[in-house]
Symmetry: C2
Subunit: 378 residues, 2 copies
Amino acid sequence: MNQVPAPHAPPQRTLMGPGPSDVEDAVLQAMARPTLGHLDPLFLELMDEVAAMLRQVMGTENRLTLPMSGTGSAGMETVFANLLQPGDAALVGVNGVFGTRMAEVARRCGAEVVEVKKDWGQAFTPDDFVRAAAGRSFRVLALVHAETSTGVWQDVSGMREAADGCAALLALDTVTSVGGVEVALDAWGVDAAYSGTQKCLSCPPGLAPVTFSARAEKVMQQRTQPVQSWYLDLSLIARYWGGERAYHHTAPINMLYGLHEALRLTLLEGLPARWLRHARNGAALCTGLQALGLELPVAPELRLPQLTVVRIPEGVDDARVRAFLLNEFGLEIGGGLGPMAGNCWRIGLMGAASRRAKVELCLQALQAALADQGHPAA
Amino acid sequence: MNQVPAPHAPPQRTLMGPGPSDVEDAVLQAMARPTLGHLDPLFLELMDEVAAMLRQVMGTENRLTLPMSGTGSAGMETVFANLLQPGDAALVGVNGVFGTRMAEVARRCGAEVVEVKKDWGQAFTPDDFVRAAAGRSFRVLALVHAETSTGVWQDVSGMREAADGCAALLALDTVTSVGGVEVALDAWGVDAAYSGTQKCLSCPPGLAPVTFSARAEKVMQQRTQPVQSWYLDLSLIARYWGGERAYHHTAPINMLYGLHEALRLTLLEGLPARWLRHARNGAALCTGLQALGLELPVAPELRLPQLTVVRIPEGVDDARVRAFLLNEFGLEIGGGLGPMAGNCWRIGLMGAASRRAKVELCLQALQAALADQGHPAA
């Protein structure tokens, strides 16, 4: 009666989509280490080390820095659910999927959301927020540092002043930026940020690092209503991650082993060296794609080195190209989202995948895929 | 400047607390397999197999059956956040930590909660709910099948009729029961249930299987307000797990490899054989504990075979015993929660840990720990 499938035997892909990215073998092996209890003294030590390393990669000394037990989107919801109460107002930059999602999440937290809109593929200036605020106060000003849907690298300078101008906490989506380009939350005056593990940290998906400034903590302490999500309530979770070690939920032990190892590898490489590696390989990819005659819709100065958006040439079948890459080269690239669905690809060079050899593999594979459809690339 | 800790090298413990439980090596090795993209056709196949196996271990044919990307408590919140809207009423059985948590989560979803209270260590009868309902209607009647805080095994028979009596959906916490004792959701008329991976399925923590009946799906479709949690909104997640494969969040790929293998091992053993193994080892543990002169506060007919609560003898230091077990025997047992904190231990025999050899190890270790404190056990 019971039907039992065979063991799953996934092949080794080259992951050059928008995430998950390639994972180093050391990280995979760390995840296979023996499970400890979530209150085991040796596990508590690991938690402290993970928090300390997260502070380094996020450029912050914030006390309240920890990985939430969910994926990046759970990190996003953690920020809004803890900072916003019904009746609060939020000013949210929307120029892609993840800005759109932030606005939606904030609305579901009962906030009044003012969206600051920009075309997909464009970036914001601080003045965009100042004008949209129109002299009003907001609880939170939120924007995306690295828009995974468009490949746009948002400059954060001047945003602290824009937030101050409307009395707001500054919140930043750093899902795709941490580990790939500089993230300096304290220097930028960011009050709350969330990230993911499966992008430039090259750990499998499943955890969402978050961090909150002392000012943000104060806002949370002054809440008059409980956080609507019990699972994401930082006032409870901080008691487990802090000195008290009070049980909240059972932490995802083996995922944390993986993140610990991924953070170690990141810091052993050194953050500036890692950013430089991403910059060089991203530039090489852009050069190669243009040499193939492909168009890059994002302006050069806004391009994320870890995620490049490419226009699909007229007459080329999106799905057929991606299936060709996957089947013939074991190579995954991403399709477009929203208005870019069907007319753009997204090519990631994140973490362990940001290697010159993978740039060349991708260019050769794309050339073959285009030739397969009779498209005269290069 | 960067401080990089050494690789984490967790020792092999014997996990006989309330979860996480011991994990088979095959499951750990599965988690270390190469990461696939969350839209890779081979990963989509794995998702279908995981859902099919979850239906088997949960005793249901519900279409909407999937693992949520969080731990067991995220599963709890998924059930209440999707079934309840502000203004709804919920009737919740509270006889331990997890009933208490259900009531709190339901309140945070904006529901009016009527708590049906019973002493910790006791079980409910259907009549308890009928009387508490007092003729009113409720959206949900919720109770815990296996109370991890007390070790009580709740009989679910008659609860469908109690729920019908107040026009309610029947929701069940099966975190600690699935894979350890019989779970027959369809036969019992359960409309919504959630579980965890780190108990009797012997997979590391990080996923929360949930399942919903057609009737529960209809209630969700008739909502007039969006689910307050975007991350846990099943109307969106079902589009990824269903045929459409629409992107919602990046699934925790390698955790799902682990769950796939853990479910395979569970079904290869066979559910009735697995329940019998848990029953036999649980009984052997109880006999051995009583032979040591230890008291079991839960009535014999209510004892969960996978989780035994033991009274700490007068004059014995709780923390010192648990540290002794961990340091001298590599053995983890759990402390008490709530009113049982400091005066009870919780000993789990879950999944891979439910072995006769581990029963004997635990009894010998406890005897040594008690002797270490001059307590004349046995």
